[in-house]
């Protein structure tokens, strides 16, 4: 699989993620879908705590899609973004290889 990454919701009592590993670049719309699925899987409270993080992550995906997506040409230097509410509760995005968030 040449294109891989994940969204991960982390917290004191939480560890849930949605990842992708596929042969074709991840479309921005699919990325937003994966992110939304993760958001919807969380409990109401866990989702509320991270609501701003999800908004910022979604905004980042859209911004990336307007700028050629994200291209990690070789394994080893990923894109990592964290959207923390505090030191325990957060949303992480990692693109480890390949192309993501293209139109």
């Amino acid at each position: 699989m040449n294109h891989r990454g994940r969204f991960q919701a982390q917290g004191k009592n939480l560890g849930d993620s949605n990842s992708w590993a596929q042969d074709s670049p991840l479309l921005a719309i699919t990325g937003i879908q994966l992110l939304s699925e993760l958001h919807l899987r969380l409990t109401k409270n866990e989702a509320k705590i991270r609501s701003k993080g999800f908004v910022k992550c979604r905004k980042f995906i859209l911004s990336a899609s307007e700028n050629g997506g994200i291209n990690i040409s070789s394994m080893g230097k990923p894109l990592i973004k964290s959207f923390p509410k505090n030191y325990t509760e957060r949303l992480d995005l990692e693109v480890h290889l390949g192309v993501a968030f293209v139109k």
């Binding site: 701003k52 990336a64 994200i70 894109l79 923390p84 030191y87």
Partner: protein
């Protein structure tokens, strides 16, 4: 430190560059060796992502590193939060100290202390908890 007066830097190339230089200088002064970034923070079109997330990363060695996330003044963002994260860099497990801050003299001083403790290998979960509890709303 004039950079402490920088209010807006997201998508402001000059202010952003000043802050990146500031963090690089700070890290290299504290750590005593050159910074070496371990994350990609560019769009596919080659443009740098000027969002402060992260504003700076550097390896300490092949197994550990520091990532600093800086946000503009925002009551909904952490003033200072720090945690340990496990990821994959260069195909193997990699531990990072992540520090998310809104920059002022106090958070800068705390961040310098955290970088020093982590570089020295003396940052314990208990000590880290102490920093976080101080800023926990």
């Amino acid at each position: 430190m004039e950079v402490l007066a920088i209010g807006n830097f997201v998508d402001n190339e000059q202010n952003y560059t000043d802050l990146v230089d500031f963090w690089t200088y700070t890290f290299e002064t504290v750590a005593g060796f050159p910074a070496s970034s371990y994350v990609n923070n560019q769009y596919g079109n080659g443009e740098d992502i000027l969002d402060g997330n992260p504003i700076f990363t550097s390896k300490i060695n092949s197994l550990r590193g520091i990532r600093i996330i800086q946000s503009e003044q925002d009551v909904e963002e952490p003033v200072l939060s720090a945690w340990m994260n496990e990821t994959i860099i260069d195909g193997h497990g990699f531990e990072e100290l992540v520090i998310a801050i809104q920059l002022n003299l106090e958070t800068y001083t705390e961040t310098v202390q955290l970088i020093k403790l982590y570089c020295d290998g003396t940052l314990t979960p208990f000590v880290l908890q102490g920093y976080n509890e101080k800023y926990q709303g």
